[in-house]
Symmetry: D2
């Protein structure tokens, strides 16, 4: 990867860029955990809005529609930007939390029990 590509791939580098954007506009005052969590929920629903009336099969067709795919990519970016900013403000190591949650999921969903099943861990 080039240096530029590496920065786009780094959670910490993106968080620094997001937070500089926030600081430059004096938006820190609006970025309480409560406000950010409301904003994350709103943006997450904007992803869902694209798929609410489709079947599973139809939802894959978005890959053939470059304009809508870009819209969805930007909604997904919004969810990540706000979640990264919330992690920054709460001094949560987001990459570490993701690794930790994956390890918990490894325990909750052993391969032999969960293969091919969408059941929640407490129903396995």
């Amino acid at each position: 990867m080039t240096n530029e590509a590496q920065k786009k791939d780094s959670i910490r580098a993106l968080q620094a860029k997001i937070h500089a954007f926030v600081e430059a506009r004096d938006w820190r005052q609006f970025h309480s955990p409560r406000n950010l969590s409301a904003a994350i929920a709103v943006e997450a629903s904007e992803i869902l809005e694209h798929f609410r009336w489709t079947t599973d099969a139809q939802s894959w067709e978005i890959r053939d529609d470059a304009e809508r795919l870009r819209e969805v990519a930007h909604e997904m970016a919004d969810v990540c930007i706000l979640t990264m900013e919330l992690a920054h403000n709460l001094e949560i190591d987001l990459g570490g939390a993701i690794e930790e949650k994956l390890a918990i999921n490894e325990d909750r969903y052993p391969v032999e029990k969960s293969r091919g099943s969408s059941a929640k861990y407490d129903k396995l």
Copy 2:
């Protein structure tokens, strides 16, 4: 950063780990864009659940409660895991989309117009 720390910080490395987890359980069949977008919305609301009745000031107090902070960190991890997996399945470059959306926001919210204001760009 150590090599281990660098992997936790890399979106692509996390996506590869997440998708290996999914493949091992044959869960790809459940991970249509539609299902993943519903799951992202559910997990985003689980972050919000922690703050729905608090004031802005109270929502910061979670920093003093290690157990609840860890719960919130894990809900945030869930949102990221599902969004990263959706990006993977739609072949969206998530880090690139975040950079792209930040550039759009730079245009929509010029510093001089948006400083200290929470107004949406179309109301500035």
Copy 3:
């Protein structure tokens, strides 16, 4: 309908009962439009949680599972209770707003254009 059944069917009678519950606990202080709207979003996601990994066909099977059907009915009740309370607090005539929105939808979705289509009105 008996008098009792009529009360359960009346939006205003339910709103009065809900608001008496709130007043008795001195919860009015927590019921700002902002808090109630966050709570409505959280409860709406709890309905969705039951169906996030199901196909359309599977989602109908909940009718055969009395316990889960009752859980979903209670999540739906929560959404209505909070929305009715928000309408009460903002002095919105909720039944009137529903009639008004249905009339708007009649205009936006003429039968001949929208029959059998899930397209949004601006794409018809």
Copy 4:
């Protein structure tokens, strides 16, 4: 109340009107529990969108802005329309479920324990 006002206040009368609208457009095919629950979550977030960056106090100011109040009333109507339609399709008595949930809440939140507190019942 006039006969007309009584119909706007009746859950069953509204449900009949909503379902006639759906049938006329042959939309029953899109109204699986899964699709409706996704749509309810999306509409609930559209209420929240109005308040995501406001303080509690500011969120009350919407009462002074007739146009935005009407927008919020219509988002609330959407949430109710979809929830009423879901109840209809699952043959859930929605008014009865609301009464039932209020009775459960009476038990979970005794006045003397919950007065002035926003704590969840399992933390009282």
